[in-house]
């Protein structure tokens, strides 16, 4: 490893960029490149998964109402389309809103089981090195707190799909919360080519 501290270099670089660009902008009078997040409209309308409990499944209805009572809601779920190669992986992103008491997302399953496994993953960056790691769960802060799963952050990982995910398909997940229990989520498949999608991936970081 380099004896230099990369974060110091990065800070120096950031400072130089900030100072440099503002000077340049000042003397050239040109507009800076707009640093805008390209937010594509969310493909899925916010789904309160609890509202569509099938009448045939009494237990599901009970669970759903328990979840609704606890206040955890899931919105803007989507899955990334795949290319059609064998044994592909994909990821599901979503937002959990929690007006109630603090809770924790502790697992996810997929039905029908179109992937061999479903895991909760975190993408981490260290010194520019991107790595993925499995986690046991994520806290969902209460009293209006949210948990956001988004590209380059947290995702529900679908490992070894047995079919291609195409735009128009829906991935049906069941999320397990410590307190709220199980919540079903339908994640529409979005085009991988359409950049990051609605929950903030591809966002512009302030320079």
């Amino acid at each position: 490893m380099s004896p230099l501290n990369p974060s110091r270099v990065a800070r120096a670089a950031t400072l130089a960029v900030v100072v440099g660009t503002s000077l340049l902008a000042a003397c050239s009078g040109e507009d800076m490149t707009p640093v805008t997040a390209t937010r594509t409209p969310a493909a899925g309308t916010p789904k309160a998964a609890a509202t569509t409990a099938p009448t045939t499944a009494a237990t599901a209805a009970v669970k759903a109402s328990a979840a609704a009572a606890a206040g955890v809601r899931v919105r803007d779920a989507w899955a990334r389309s795949t290319a059609g190669n064998p044994d592909e992986n994909s990821a599901v992103y979503l937002v959990v809103e929690n007006p109630g008491g603090a809770d924790r997302l502790i697992g996810a399953t997929i039905s029908p089981p179109i992937s061999r496994t479903v895991e909760l993953h975190v993408t981490e960056m260290n010194n520019g090195q991107m790595a993925m790691r499995q986690v046991e769960g994520w806290d969902v802060p209460g009293s209006g707190g949210t948990l956001e799963l988004k590209p380059a952050g947290n995702h529900v990982m679908l490992i070894a799909l047995n079919r291609q995910l195409k735009v128009g398909d829906t991935v049906s997940l069941t999320l397990k919360f410590e307190k709220a229990g199980e919540i079903k989520v339908d994640a529409p498949v979005r085009d991988a080519a359409a950049a990051a999608g609605g929950t903030g991936g591809g966002m512009a970081m302030p320079k």
Partner: protein
């Protein structure tokens, strides 16, 4: 967090000197120095290393030195990467679509696998085609891919295999941008927006 200067041949020391030098030049009133980029600027502009592998969609040999367009983006990743690789490829796709049509032909996007064991050229071809038919996916014999990874100083780590033989890898987050003379000019960070990438590509295109 920000990516470090993984593409700089002489590492961080050079990066620091370059950054300080650049800042100093700016402070001394170098208003004449116009080009400004969103991506990290590689001040030393080293010539890109050799890159000779197999092109996915055709199965034909690929050599970076041949048929060089004005600008080439080179990204090392792997197809089983579910999150950051498609994020970068998607951002590059969206950036290409933001370019005026006439500019698009002058930009070449190349994705090189870091996982030749699973990513055959055919799989790479299919993978990049889901983003843009013009994108080039490269793979080849593991030894050849290994040479490319070493030549480009890409740090790659492979995780343990699970019961089914699946594994994940870690790799640099950024993509390198080369100019028409195959000099390494920019490193696109993983969190760059399509608009930022497109602006940088246009700035480089206007140079030539």
């Amino acid at each position: 967090m920000r990516p470090h200067y993984s593409y700089l041949p002489n590492g961080l020391g050079l990066a620091r000197v370059a950054v300080l030098g650049w800042a100093l030049a700016l402070l001394l009133g170098a208003c004449a120095r116009a080009p400004e980029f969103n991506s990290k600027v590689i001040e030393a502009t080293p010539l890109a290393p050799e890159l000779r592998l197999v092109e996915g969609s055709s199965g034909a040999p690929f050599d970076l030195r041949e048929a060089s367009p004005e600008v080439t983006v080179v990204y090392f990743g792997y197809t089983h990467c579910p999150d950051v690789c498609p994020l970068m490829m998607g951002s590059l796709t969206a950036a290409m679509r933001q370019l005026p049509e006439g500019d698009r032909d002058d930009v070449r996007v190349v994705m090189v696998t870091i996982d030749p064991e699973r990513d055959t050229p055919e799989i790479m071809g299919r993978y990049v085609a889901q983003f843009d038919q013009s994108f080039i996916g490269l793979s080849g014999e593991p030894a050849d891919v290994g040479k490319a990874i070493a030549d480009w100083r890409i740090e790659v780590f492979r995780g343990d295999k699970d019961a089914y033989g699946s594994y994940f890898m870690s790799h640099p987050a950024g993509a390198a941008v080369l100019d028409a003379r195959r000099r390494m000019r920019l490193e696109i960070p993983s969190d760059a927006s399509p608009a930022q990438i497109a602006a940088d590509l246009r700035t480089l295109l206007q140079e030539s």
